[in-house]
């Protein structure tokens, strides 16, 4: 099953490699991983999307907690949560496709960030499946580049991960 794990860790050199190393050493998979400092610059917040049985996810959470640099861990998928991913897509925008791509971007509430005579760069935010379906909705041959951040997640309401 797909899990989205959020954690707070010391914003120090090497902390990221400890987390990444834990996954590779134990054969756990990482679908995506995002990390950036929080409002407290000494702490980073990381969101990891992974797959595994309940037993594997339990081990992942425990092993993450065991890392000295990791201050708090939460499996967001255990409760209500929000999840967003940012995607930048550069597409070939010429002739009839130029209007069609603009329309599709509007339907998916995307924004066109950059325009050249032959390309658009579209920004889209949403869940993974929304971004996937945008990519499926446009002509595949027109896609020049896609850049995705991987999911960031946060608990709903009073589900708060803070020190």
């Amino acid at each position: 099953m797909r899990h989205i794990i959020s954690l707070l860790m010391e914003n120090e050199a090497g902390a990221l490699s400890r987390v990444a190393g834990l996954f590779s050493a134990r054969g756990y998979n990482i679908e995506s991983l995002t990390v950036a400092p929080t409002e407290d610059a000494t702490l980073s917040r990381m969101t990891i999307v992974t797959h595994g049985s309940d037993a594997v996810i339990e081990q992942i959470t425990k092993q993450l907690n065991k890392l000295i640099d990791v201050a708090a861990v939460m499996d967001l998928s255990e409760g209500d949560h929000l999840e967003r991913e940012l995607m930048l897509v550069k597409v070939r925008a010429e002739g009839a496709a130029r209007d069609e791509l603009k329309r599709m971007a509007d339907i998916f509430r995307g924004r066109i960030l950059d325009v050249s005579s032959h390309t658009y760069t579209i920004e889209l935010t949403g869940t993974r499946s929304k971004l996937d379906s945008f990519l499926q909705s446009i002509d595949q041959n027109l896609i020049l580049e896609t850049v995705r951040t991987g999911a960031s997640g946060i608990g709903r309401g009073e589900r708060i991960l803070k020190l």
């Binding site: 090497g14 190393g21 339990e58 065991k66 000295i68 640099d69 201050a71």
Partner: protein, 569 residues
Amino acid sequence: MELTGAEIAIRCLQEEGVEYLFGYPGGAVLHIYDALFQQEKVKHILVRHEQAAIHAADGYARSSDQVGVALVTSGPGITNAVTGIATAYMDSIPMVVISGQVPSYAIGEDAFQEVDAVGITRPCVKHNFLIKDVKDIAPTIKKAFYLAKSGRPGPVLVDIPKDISNHKTEFVYPESVSIRAYNPVGKGDSNQIKQAAQLLLEAKRPMIYAGGGVVLSGAAAQLTDLVRLLGYPCTNTLMGLGGFPATDDHFVGMLGMHGTYEANMAMQNCDVLVAIGARFDDRVIGNVAHFAELPRKIIHIDIDPSSIAKRVKVDVPIVGELKPVLDELLTVLRASNKKPVAADLAAWWKQIKEWNVKGGGLRYKNSSEVIKPQFVIETLYKITQGDAYVTSDVGQHQMWAAQYYKFDQPRRWINSGGLGTMGFGLPAAMGVQLKHPDATVACVTGEGSIQMNIQELSTCKQFHLPIKVLSLNNRYLGMVRQWQQFFHGDRYSESYMDALPDFVKLAEAYGHVGMRIVNPADVEPALREAFARKKDLVFMDFQTDPKENVFPMVPGGKGLSEIVLSEDL
């Protein structure tokens, strides 16, 4: 007054009360060695290979409750140390390793003797640090010692670039340490402990299974009280030997791949199992699916939550330090009106005694022609009256030592259980002998293992360490040969030790006493003579039966009750 980083590092070790520093000098640690030279409190033990420095610090730590400390240089110094660090990590041994690094301005330039020490050790340390500012040296070393010994212990590496060890700053050793993301638990959850007590008292076929955690946390007395209070059978893992007295009637022997028949059968057939400071590893419970076939309630007490429910489902998990948890469990049990049902317990013990036929599989056919390795260990036990510190290497001799030497006290049995590091025994014995200068220290080894760190005979000479080395020389890598015989159709691929040195002459070349023992009748007199030489290191080359196998055996991938006994019985 301002001190250099090197002086600060040594002052920190003094503040921590470090008695011995095991190490080997080199370019990146020259400043630290210079600071070491100019003081007397911390004594340096010069090994002959960095791996041995780590094993010696490890042996020192295992035989005491103190942190082992080692110092190595950059590049090959730290890569040589990695096997030792991984050994300590797998067995949760408290250790601080200081490594030199190339100057900070040269890091990343492929400088001479540069290696990413923090990167290369990351998977086998509890934590590690690369120092970037001389001001960080004292607080980091303070943290390193705290991390090494608190919670689930383990090795911690502090990597100090050469230039930083020569920068100056004021020396202040922090009085306390706090790491916000690290808060090891102390007491266990009282409700869980009550539940555990309830389950234990309701058990019809109880079993107490205790591992190395009992030894490391100093909870042997609590474990012994618990077993005797309840009158339940107790088994120890390879790492846990001595955590419960082996000569006590409640002891059913070691369990696992080469454990006794009754210990393994009782593990498989019990209805309530309490695991204390143990981790259900593959060499202990064999095939997990086979183990899970029979229903039993499991109580698991451990300091490390990630050890719980890792390989088996647990009904009552208790996370905490073993001492306070067992103290509380004892209090609850003593206060309870309920007692174990005597008839059930008697029937269970009767069953266990039946499984003890043929000594639980721990018997062998002795010979007057050829020395049986088990006989050497039994004689060692007899003449040391069970009072020696015994280190071992890895292989058949390790299993025979574990099976036939009865450890009544914790921290007496010193072996590499998790990583299984050949070459561990002799350097570990050096650490033990330094910690306990008047104690009898025996290193049980084989002609294969001993050659992996034989150069340390030189260190033993320099520091007058009167270790007794018992080499069970069967001219084979015995455990490999045994598996090849059982599982690879007698194809003894590369397991024969050809062109062995004359170990007697070799010992003498290093300035020690060497003995070769060929006849079974000479085993006891030789051991007596060797152990009477209180001041000498004696290397005993026992020419043992090359065909002897370790029994009982749970073949790899099999279940505990599929245990195989020797055909000799």
